[in-house]
């Protein structure tokens, strides 16, 4: 089934105008998406929980506004999905873990509340790796997600459900979280746009914490323009998150059409080294050529500490995770093991029974790195190398406006291919973790397909809080590929 121009094929602006002009209603559209989910999702597995009552209530509110001729908010009636690491009041939120199988949060995360305040219709909660730990979605305690472009392959992770839902036309846009590449890598694997904003740009209030100094929330959509619209909706200071930055939110959509002539695009050889698939390299080099044709200037830059990013990341992220996940003790919410002999027995057996293997592995690694005798050698060392990695970007951005790179060294790999080799799985994040360590914004935009028709993503980075330039370059690139390739036209399956 191919999504058409109407119904489930609409863009955000398309949905809003179709409702405003009476060509459809938010209620009818929500029903169409639920029908599509019923048809498509059994083979994909993107959704963990649907919240139809909540969606139809919101749709009815939008339809009432339209019927009364009131101006519609920017995301009016837009069907969206939320990665199941963001809490939703009254709607089960699992973080992809058995330990939260029956957890029904009493409040909404800020990003979700802002989407709904802008008129979006939340269809349901999306599958992900347990506690967002993984690069293939195979660490979900519920079921894996199949890549809509080739169902024998992974959708990427950890926001695999969020990427697959957009790619399969089961939501117009979705939210994901990105701690080491978990938005950008699945976006590249599924052939959609994925944006990780600057650290502090979007409130994390209500995001189930994995690694607090690296966690980000951001959108998935089929186009850069739609990503800009969603970012504008969710960005900005939130008194409930002290790490959210008190800086004005630009009109990202209006900035998109500014010219890109004369912008400098940095190319770092460290992102084109050993392990990069030749087809991915060729596709990204062709994309950089395209940017040059648009009037951008390619400038070589050096990011000399890049090879140390993965070891740094896996110390910092696991250390923070070991602390954040200490809260799952079976006392106030979540799974509690039956018939505990003592309090400590209850803690241990609840955690043992509730957490999956990868989560335990990361808690162990992080606890080890923080333990007496190893703190200086591992954790402190990693924090210092984090400074060096960040300085690399500071130096590069003195010379260039954006940096172009591959999103992932390979296209989507097969289900089961890396599941028994944690280190091989970690290396799938080699081009994405640096942006989390430095806190700079990054985006993955579809740029080509390999000989097996698997999508390839172009990754762009920009300076802190310069999402406007990041989106502008990504948009110009995306537009330049028309008419040969239209991002919201999916290939027939």
């Amino acid at each position: 089934m191919i999504a058409g121009k109407e119904g489930t094929g609409l863009t955000i602006d398309g949905v809003r105008s179709a409702i405003a002009e009476g060509r459809t209603t938010a209620t009818k559209l929500a029903e169409e998406f639920y029908t599509r989910i019923k048809q498509e999702d059994p083979e994909i597995g993107a959704f963990l929980t649907l919240c139809k009552d909540r969606a139809l209530d919101q749709a009815a509110r939008i339809d009432k506004m339209a019927a009364e001729g009131k101006p519609l908010p920017p995301l009016a009636g837009v069907p969206v999905g939320i990665k199941d690491v963001m809490v939703t009041r009254g709607v089960r939120t699992t973080a992809g873990s058995k330990i939260l199988e029956n957890f029904v949060p009493p409040y909404d995360s800020t990003a979700v509340a802002r989407l709904e305040a802008a008129g979006a219709v939340v269809l349901g909660k999306l599958n992900c790796d347990e506690f967002a730990m993984g690069s293939s979605n195979e660490n979900s305690a519920y079921h894996p997600v199949h890549n809509p472009r080739d169902k024998s392959r992974v959708p990427g992770g950890s926001s695999g459900g969020s990427a697959a839902a957009v790619a399969a036309g089961m939501a117009v846009a979705t939210l994901g979280s990105d701690t080491g590449g978990s938005i950008r890598q699945p976006a590249s694997f599924c052939g959609v746009v994925g944006l990780k904003p600057t650290y502090g740009r979007v409130s994390r209030y209500g995001l189930i914490a994995f690694a607090s100094s690296l966690d980000h929330i951001g959108p998935f959509a089929r186009t850069v323009r739609e990503s800009a619209l969603v970012l504008r909706t969710i960005a900005g200071r939130d008194p409930m998150d002290s790490t959210s930055a008190d800086l004005p939110v630009p009109n990202y959509v209006a900035e998109l059409e500014k010219p890109v002539q004369g912008l400098k695009v940095g190319i770092a050889k460290e992102y084109f080294g050993e392990g990069l698939d030749p087809e991915v390299r060729a596709a990204v080099e062709a994309a950089i050529q395209k940017l040059a044709e648009l009037g951008c200037e390619a400038v070589p830059v050096s990011l000399p500490h890049t090879e140390y990013a993965i070891p740094t990341y896996y110390i910092v992220a696991t250390a923070e995770a070991s602390s954040n996940l200490a809260r799952y003790d079976g006392v106030r919410y979540g799974y509690r093991a039956p018939n505990p002999r003592s309090l400590s027995d209850m803690y241990r057996r609840s955690r043992d029974g509730g957490f999956g293997m990868e989560v335990k592995r990361r808690i162990m690694l992080g606890t080890y790195a923080l333990s007496a005798g190893y703190y200086d050698a591992y954790y402190l060392k990693a924090q210092k190398v984090r400074t060096l990695l960040t300085r690399d970007f500071d130096e590069a951005f003195k010379k260039v406006d954006v940096i172009a790179a591959p999103t992932s060294p390979t296209p989507a790999f097969r289900l089961g291919e890396k599941v028994n080799d944690p280190l091989a799985m970690y290396l799938a994040d080699i081009y994405t973790v640096t942006a989390n360590l430095a806190g700079i914004p990054g985006i993955s935009v579809p740029c080509s397909e390999n000989h097996e028709k698997l999508p390839i993503g172009l990754q762009l980075f920009a300076r802190h809080f310069d999402e406007a330039t990041l989106l502008r370059v990504a948009h110009a690139y995306e537009q330049s590929r028309k008419p040969e390739w239209v991002p919201h036209q999916r290939s027939p399956r």
Binding site: T312, R348, R351, L365, K384, R386, T390
Partner: protein, 112 residues
């Protein structure tokens, strides 16, 4: 630095994990392989490099601030006015595995 069986048991204890025999041997293998990869960080001389705990104290807004002022963004007046209301008691207890309606219930902590 090679992780031993004893280290795995010690760290599992710190992390409040029990782990089965099979999980322990898998953990031993995986931790050693990951730490071996991580050891390459020691190639870098970081003697004069300051550690970086988080990104937000690098924003230009906070850069001129010194000492505890750098964390001013995270502080607020300690007053009740303007604070949001707490969750109602029954809502806060709703996800509890065991409760008597007033408290969270846990196994007896102090043995006689």
């Amino acid at each position: 630095m090679k992780v031993t069986d004893k280290d795995v048991a010690y760290v599992a204890d710190l992390a409040s994990l029990e782990l089965t025999e099979e999980e322990r041997s898998r953990m031993l293998r995986d931790l050693n392989s990951i730490l071996e990869y991580i050891a390459r960080l020691s190639e870098l001389n970081t003697e004069s490099v300051a550690p970086m705990a988080q990104v937000s104290d690098r924003y230009s807004v906070d850069q001129p601030r010194q000492g505890s002022d750098r964390f001013a963004y995270a502080s607020r007046e300690d007053v009740h006015n303007g604070l949001r209301e707490s969750l109602p008691h029954e809502v806060a207890l709703k996800n509890a595995p065991e409760t008597d309606g007033t408290f969270f219930e846990v196994p007896k902590v102090i043995e006689r």
